[in-house]
């Protein structure tokens, strides 16, 4: 099917960049009147949660304007997808949101399935729900813990990271990888659940809510944490909607919007769960929404594990999947609720075995764009906390 000249060849590496040059100095677009100072943070800074550079205009200690400079992790994944077959793109989507790889896998696979008209077996849908809710827990642990670390409570990070390690162990026994899973594939999932996995998963789900309530007590009840996060980085519900925020950032502001319930996909309508919604739109609410979402995820996983017993083991791949997918010319968009918000993938097919164009609608990108809005008027030390509460993952922001 593939012509020899179409295969990706060992092309010559591009000319090495002029590494002696300093990074481009980008000045903020708006310079305020008066005696202000420009401070550069990043791109390598422990508080930026990745390779983000923030140019901050300060009046004393007050942030007048904070401008994120992105693109330090731009790897051209969308462009690379045009040179890969549909199945070969799945590992690339792992590297988009590396804190929650399963989501990008799933969003991409849903777009492919919609494009090619593939019907996924129900057992595979249940497994997808289970792994993605586990992934939501793992990803939120990486948001709650650093929120504590940013405010000086490093021990909270230790507690949440341990919960994340338990999830990673489950994934490792499922597909062999700790971080980049390549598990959700077009038409199903790559492996069925191994022996004893359901029991291990039930053990995790049984202990997780108690661990979360403990963190709720000693982190969210901590007087210093409350003082550092309550009323900081306030985002109105109207602004959240008009700036395209989604996920916990929007729900922390009181926007009751979750694709799992409001645009139901997969088998989510069969489960009973609630959507935690904040009210104040500050860092505290955004972070606490994540904590309660992790507990709700446990409820979904328990119900999905119960439901899984109805289906015959092994039916995890769609029938009649060709080795090389070549969907009819057309386009498809599908989105899921990732840990960061609504993650969408738009695919255009020209009838060949490779996508003509792939576009990822990244929630982390939209949420990071809020930084100038929510950090204005707070202090420089609050900026770090606010940036952490937006929970950007730069693999997904820069793609």
């Amino acid at each position: 099917m593939i012509e020899p000249q179409d295969t990706p060849t060992d092309q010559a590496a591009p000319v090495a960049p002029d590494l002696d040059c300093a990074p481009d100095v980008v000045m903020p677009e708006v310079i305020h009147e008066g005696d202000t100072t420009i401070v550069n943070i990043g791109p390598s800074h422990p508080s930026t949660h990745g390779v983000c550079r923030v140019i901050v205009e300060l009046d004393g200690e007050i942030v007048k304007h904070a401008e994120p400079v992105i693109g330090h992790l731009h790897r051209g994944i969308e462009k690379m997808a045009e040179n890969r077959t549909y199945l070969q793109v799945v590992p690339l989507t792992d590297r988009l949101d590396y804190v929650g790889s399963m989501y990008a896998n799933w969003a991409y696979c849903r777009a492919v399935e919609r494009l090619a008209g593939i019907r996924v077996p129900e057992r595979a849908e249940y497994i997808r729900v289970i792994v993605c809710e586990l992934q939501r827990i793992a990803s939120h642990m990486m948001a709650i813990g650093p929120a504590g670390a940013d405010t000086g409570a490093t021990s909270a990070f230790m507690y949440t990271f341990w919960q994340r390690e338990l999830v990673v162990d489950l994934f490792e026994s499922l597909c062999g990888a700790r971080l980049t899973y390549n598990y959700v594939r077009p038409g199903g999932v790559s492996f069925d659940l191994p022996d004893g996995w359901i029991e291990k998963c039930r053990e995790f789900v049984a202990q997780h809510p108690a661990a979360m309530l403990e963190i709720d007590r000693f982190l969210f009840g901590n007087v210093i944490f409350r003082a550092r996060t309550k009323g900081i980085g306030v985002l109105d519900a109207d602004d959240a909607v008009s700036w395209g925020a989604s996920g916990p950032v929007a729900r922390g502001s009181g926007v009751d919007w979750d694709l799992r319930r409001d645009d139901p996909y997969s088998v989510y309508p069969r489960f009973d769960f609630s959507i935690p919604v904040g009210s104040n739109g500050d860092v505290y609410d955004r972070t606490r929404v994540r904590l309660w979402e992790a507990i709700e995820s446990c409820r979904i996983i328990s119900q999905a594990l119960d439901g899984l017993a109805e289906f015959e083991p092994g039916t995890i791949k769609a029938d009649g999947m060709p080795r090389l997918l070549a969907p009819r010319p057309g386009d498809a968009y599908d989105h899921i609720e990732s840990a960061r918000g609504s993650l969408g993938v738009y695919l255009v097919s020209d009838g060949s075995v490779r996508p003509y164009r792939m576009k990822v609608r990244s929630p982390a990108f939209s949420n990071l764009a809020l930084l100038p809005l929510v950090s204005e008027g707070y202090t420089l030390s609050d900026l770090v906390v606010i940036l952490g509460s937006l929970d950007p993952v730069f693999g997904e922001v820069d793609r």
């Binding site: 590494l19 693109g71 462009k79």
Partner: protein, 197 residues
Amino acid sequence: MAGVDDLAKALESTPGGGVILTSIDAIADWARGYSLWMMPMGTACCAMELIAASFSKFDFDRHGSIPRPDPRHTDVMVVAGTITHKMAPAVKRLWAQMPDPKWCIAMGNCAVSGGIFYYDTYSVVRGVDEFLPVDIYIAGCPPRPESLQDAILRLREKVRAESISPSRVRAVEGVLPLPGDPLRGETDDAAPEGSDA
């Protein structure tokens, strides 16, 4: 470092000075090898495993290897993740800010060679060794924290074979038996002169 080099050369040319020099080397290498503080140059997915290495289950503090965000505090730069052309000048500048002696670990396929991003992309540096002197390469996408642990232990062995005098190469018994390791060279058969093994 120039002062240290001059001192080391003067000691080498002095009768009996070699004994003092090897003693100083032994102390310096012991101290350096057991407190390899990391500059976590984590940019992408591998940074997650770099964080995991510092937390429960792996706990790199017990190797004396703790991550410090300030390059001026650190001995070894762990480049974990894809380095793009936009990021490379910043990495190079951070490397220049680290005090000598310093070492570099390329963690993960992206830092080793560009990995999955070697083909078909226009923005990725094909391996951090295009502009940094890498001591240890770790393969994997991403490597497990155990691999990073292994790299730290191997690097310790390399550090213990170094001298404060740049012209002097010491051969010592490694902490890990690594047959076929080029680092150990012919030391098993005949120890070169000046060896205190």
